[in-house]
Symmetry: C2
Subunit: 321 residues, 2 copies
C-alpha cells in the first residue's frame, strides 16, 4: 500500500458522520480535540502490527512499551496530558509468559505517565495487531496548522537512532556500540513533558513518526507554508554518527524515534532551550519556515538544495505502512 493510497483512505474517512459543535479539531492532526464542559480533550488512536511496526522477535516488554509510547507521542505533539487508554488487541494465541512481559512494559510506561487502562477488546487473529486509543486533557493545545513564515523549525533529541537501530537489529548486530540505537528502536521516549512545556511558545508541532522531512511536509501542508531544512544542522547522536555515511539519511528519513518537530518565532530560542532543558531533552534549530506552497527543501552548508536519499520512513517490510 503506497503513501498515496493512504492519503486516499484518509480522504475517505474525513468529514464522516455528523458535524458537531464540540469538535474543535477533527482528522488530520496528531490527535483530535473535543470540548467537554470547560475542558479540551485530545483523543488519538494508533495501530501496531507485528512485522510491520515492530519485529516479531522484539522483547515483549518493549512491544508493550512501544505500543503505548507511540500513542503517547501523539498526545505529546498536542501538548496534552495522558489520562486514559483503551486497548483493542488481536492475538494468534495465548502465551501467558509473553502476555505477562508485554503487560509489564505497557504498565510501567502507563504508571510513569499517570495513565489508566480503562477498557479494551480482545479478539483472535493470525497476526498480533494492537490498536490503542488514548485521551487526556489539554489547555492551549499545540496543532500542526499554526506555523508562520519566519518561524524557526526545531527538532527535539536525536532523530534517526531508531531507524539505524532497526537496521542493526535486522542484521543481527547486538554490540555495545549499537545498544543505544536498539534501545531507541524498542523503547522510544514519548516527549510528553516537552510537548506540555512548548504550549504558548511553539506555533505548531508534529511528532516524527514518518521521518523528519516527511513530517515537516505534513506540518507545512496543514499550515500552508514551506520549510527549508539545513542538513548540516540536523543533530546526530554519537551512536548514530558512528554509523558513518548513512547517519544523516537515518536522521532525515527514519521514523520511529517519536521526537517532536515544532516551529516557534525566531526570538523564542532562549526560552525554548530553557523549557526543553527543564523537560529533560535538547532541542535544535534545523530550518526555517517560508511563504509558499507546502514543500520542504533540504539544503547543504552552502545553502544549495540537496536531494534527500528518501522522503519518508517506510516500515521495515519494505512496502510502506
Amino acid at each position: 500500500m503506497s503513501l498515496s493510497e493512504f492519503a486516499l483512505i484518509e480522504r475517505f474517512f474525513t468529514g464522516l458522520g455528523a458535524e458537531r459543535g464540540d469538535v474543535t479539531l477533527g482528522c488530520g492532526d496528531d490527535a483530535a480535540l473535543v470540548e467537554v464542559g470547560g475542558t479540551t480533550l485530545a483523543l488519538a488512536v494508533d495501530t501496531m502490527i507485528e512485522d510491520v511496526h515492530f519485529p516479531a522477535d522484539a522483547p515483549p516488554a518493549s512491544i508493550g512499551h512501544k505500543l503505548l509510547a507511540v500513542n503517547l507521542s501523539d498526545l505529546a505533539a498536542m501538548g496534552a496530558e495522558p489520562a486514559w487508554a483503551l486497548l483493542a488487541l488481536t492475538l494468534p494465541a495465548v502465551d501467558e509468559n509473553w502476555l505477562t512481559a508485554m503487560r509489564g512494559g505497557l504498565d510501567a510506561l502507563a504508571r510513569s505517565h499517570g495513565l489508566a487502562l480503562i477498557g479494551g477488546d480482545t479478539t483472535r487473529g493470525e497476526r498480533l495487531t494492537a490498536s490503542l486509543f488514548v485521551g487526556g486533557p489539554v489547555d492551549n493545545p499545540l496543532r500542526r496548522d499554526g506555523a508562520r513564515p519566519g518561524d524557526v523549525l526545531w527538532v527535539s533529541g536525536w532523530p534517526g537512532e531508531a531507524a539505524a537501530g532497526l537496521a542493526c537489529w535486522q542484521a543481527g548486530e547486538r554490540g555495545d556500540d549499537v545498544a543505544p540505537l536498539i534501545e531507541r528502536l524498542h523503547r522510544p521516549t514519548p516527549r510528553i513533558a516537552l510537548g506540555r512545556a512548548l504550549r504558548g511558545l511553539a506555533t505548531a508541532a508534529v511528532d516524527v513518526s514518518d521521518g523528519l522531512l516527511a513530517d515537516a511536509a505534513h506540518l507545512c501542508e496543514r499550515s500552508g507554508v514551506a520549510a527549508t531544512v539545513r542538513a548540516a544542522d540536523v543533530p546526530l547522536s554519537p551512536a548514530l554518527a558512528a554509523r558513518g555515511g548513512a547517519a544523516l539519511d537515518y536522521a532525515l528519513s527514519g521514523g520511529d524515534d517519536y521526537e517532536l518537530l515544532f516551529t516557534a518565532p525566531a526570538d523564542a530560542g532562549e526560552a525554548l532551550r530553557r523549557r526543553a532543558a527543564d523537560a529533560g531533552v535538547a532541542v535544535t534549530p534545523v530550518g526555517v519556515i517560508t511563504a509558499g506552497a507546502a514543500a520542504v527543501t533540504l539544503v547543504g552548508a552552502d545553502g544549495a538544495p540537496l536531494a534527500a536519499g528518501r522522503t519518508g520512513y517506510r516500515h521495515f517490510d519494505g512496502t510502506g505502512e
Copy 2:
C-alpha cells in the same frame, strides 16, 4: 481461543496503569466511565475481523453500518449519548468501490445518531480488521453491577434473529421469508434511545452480544446475583419462530442482535413498557433476579430447569471470538 482464554486475557489487562480519581468505572462493563469537569463520559472499543465477526461477502455498506452499530450498542447499554468515534482500520488492499460503500454505511448510521468521526489510523494487513473507539456523555449511567434480588429481567426486541440470519446466509438462503433475519445480521439497530430511556429506572443493563444467557451471566457476575430465565417467555419474532425447533436456541444463545438485557424493580413494569414504546422497541420480562452465587438457570413452563443447547454465542468460524 476459548472463552476461558479470553477471561485470562481480561485479567491480564485489568488494573493496568495508574489509579486515577477521574475513572468512575474501568474494565468489565460495556464501556468505561470517566469524569471530565462536571460531565461523565462513556468510552468503549470493539474490534470486528473479516470472517470472524462478519462474512467477507457481506455487503460493504452493511459492514460499515455494523462496525458502528456494535460500538453504539456499548454506549446504549450505558445509557450514553453517542458523540465521537476514532477508527483504526487494517486493510489488505485499497478498493475504492468497496471503501465508498463501506463509508456510506458508517456515515449514514453516524449521522442518524449525531456522531462525528474525529480521527483514525490506517494500516496494511492480510485481513480486514477494524477497531472503533466511541465516546459520549452520560448522566446517571446504566451499569452491569446494580441488579438486586427481586428485580425482573427484561430483554428488548427480538433476540436470536441475527444468529438465525447468519445460518441462512451461510446456507445460501436468500428468500423473502429469511430477509428480516439477514437484515438483522447485517444491519443491527443499536438501542440508543432505549438505553437513554432506561436511566433512572433500570438497575442494571448489558447489551446482548454473546447471547441472552451468556450476557445474563455477565450481568449476574458483576452484580453478585443469580438469575432465572423462563424459556417460554423469551420473545420469538415471527421470522425466527418460522425456523421451527432451533428458534429458541437462537434466541437464548445467539449474539449479534445487540438487544439490551436489563433489570428493574418488579413494580417498574408499566413505566418500562411506556418508555420503551416511546423509544420505538418492545420490551419483554423473561426472568427474575435471585440471591446467590452468579449463575443463570433456564426453566421450562413448569418451572423445572432445562439444559440450554449452548451457553453462549461463538462466532461463526466455530472457534470462539
